[in-house]
Amino acid sequence: MTSPLVELNNISRHFPGKRTSLFGPPETVRAVDGLSLRINRGEVLSLVGESGSGKSTVGKALMRLTDLTAGEIVFDGQEISRFDRARMRPLRRRIQMVFQDPYASLNPKASVADTLAAPLEIHEPDLTRAQRQDRVADILETVGLSPDFAARYPHEFSGGQRQRIGLARALITKPDLLVADEPISALDVSVQAQVINLLLELQQRLGLTILFISHDLSVVSHISDRIAVMYLGRVVEVAPAEALFRAPRHPYTEALLSAIPEPDMRARRKRMILKGDIPSPVNPPSGCSFRTRCPYAIAECANARPLLEPAGPGHLKACIRDDLDLSPALTSDT
């Protein structure tokens, strides 16, 4: 068995919150709190969760756009969480990111050619001008845009086209790992499908490993090999995509699956409605952080933080109740 491309070992990212008294210490916002996850080579791993669950912070920590409070990040055998800028630079070519907002993530004053050539100037300075232009034309074609677009500026493009440019900028350095943080949630439904298809096609053609961060479970089911569900800064369940939808083992996963709006009138299901909101990451509940909203919580849930334990082939869950019969999003005949 080959080693995973990325291993996140017990990582935490705490932010200082607001000060509750004049001279007292500030509160601590535990955005990511003791999370472990591995990403295998060539797979699409999705990280799902609601806003405030810490999924974007995990992506940023992996990109080294934010520093860790504790834990380690092992990328291709090297522990990189404390690398300085100079040591990170060669690795940045290999880890690239696509952002959520195609309007804010492109420089409005730079032409498409300038935007796409910038990573090459840094990572492959030996290229001649003509070689760079060729690479720009190639990558535009790869993402389904005409090479003639190179001279244009971002405002001339629609949201879907801009997201293709963002993808081209990430892929031009031929990365091993692509972190895609909600790459389609700002797009219209009819355009979303185009971008998902492109992402999957490129993943297979280029052998990319993708960390796909999303809150949309239907999209995630379509593109993932494995899915990790986050709640309040921790992973509560990881499983192969199909197993997660057919046999969820954590009550929060059950609730998330049940809340997916279903556009098929015949597949109506009984909804499981969670009570209340996601608690504040400043004061997460003791023990299992989901227990305040969990319909199956028992007294023991408050005692200790449940660990991720095996619950099937490739399936891990952090829940002390093994006796639950949770409803799947799909029954076996669909």
Binding site: S190, I196, H215, H222, A255, P261, E262, P263, I273, D277
Partner: protein, 347 residues
Amino acid sequence: MSTAEPKPAAPPVLQVSDLEITFNTRAGPVRAVRDVNFQIAKGETLAIVGESGSGKSVTSLAMLRLLPGAPFCKVSGQVLLSHEGRQTDLVTCSADDMRAIRGRHASIVFQEPMTSLNPVHTAGTQIAESIRRHIGLGQRAAMERAIELLDLVGIPDPRRRAASFPHEMSGGMRQRVMIALALACDPSLLIADEPTTALDVTIQAQIIELMKDIQARTDLAIIFITHNLGVVADVADKVMVMYAGSPVETAPVADLFERPLMPYTRGLLQSVPRITFSASRGQPLPAIRGTVPSPLALPQGCSFGPRCDWFLSGTCDADTPLLQPVQRGHDVRCHRCETILKELAIQ
């Protein structure tokens, strides 16, 4: 909001005829919305579906006269609201009449619960203000009613929450306050403009249940504007699909999902990602090619023509198709509708 048989005939709460909205821009007049016709009865939910730029939100703002007036914008047509045994045309009535109706007989909930509440007043004060103004209750009685409303929309500890400011609440809670505010004067029509889009899925499910529950109790007519077809299947009785500023298909919700006829609706329904697995990853999602046209440069003839698989040159690019009844209650704007129906029958 059931999917059962059509409800018995009652006078429509709202009847919209030939609504047209034109904005005057630097690039010239832009017809953002045209040919909008629909009616909605007591206890009924109409979902208006469309992508960004389809004109669905502008339609909702125009109905409550929330758009800037001349010279920036021109609204024509008729929006007849039934209230207290009378009918008022909201396009032509006086500003005073409009103020007496808005928030009293017809109210609106917006997408963004963060920006649609006043940050410097408590939730209770904002709800009580509407009650005092429209119903004329005293300060104390209005505040008691506000607390009852907060309780009705499922806010825990409503008395304490009435004294909270919007920034002290979560997004879901703020949206509940917005709904309480909209329902404060017991209106007959509620317009909900993407009320769950800014919320997380588990909170979205809570808000949808709440709206259904309130409708069952009060017989409210709801216009639910959304781009999420999953939500539509969940809440609507009737659906109106908009594309590039005009309705392209209207149908009872079950018909629309079972037998969509307009190629745009068919494409939209197919391109929604369903729960499918990596086994099927070889197969790409069906996508609609191209992008939504700019309202400044609509294509000749059918606006969907250039993106349509059924496009027939000489027909579809000649003149604009009309919205025509195909089956009972099912109207479609498409030149090729007969052909599509035939092919569907063969399959």
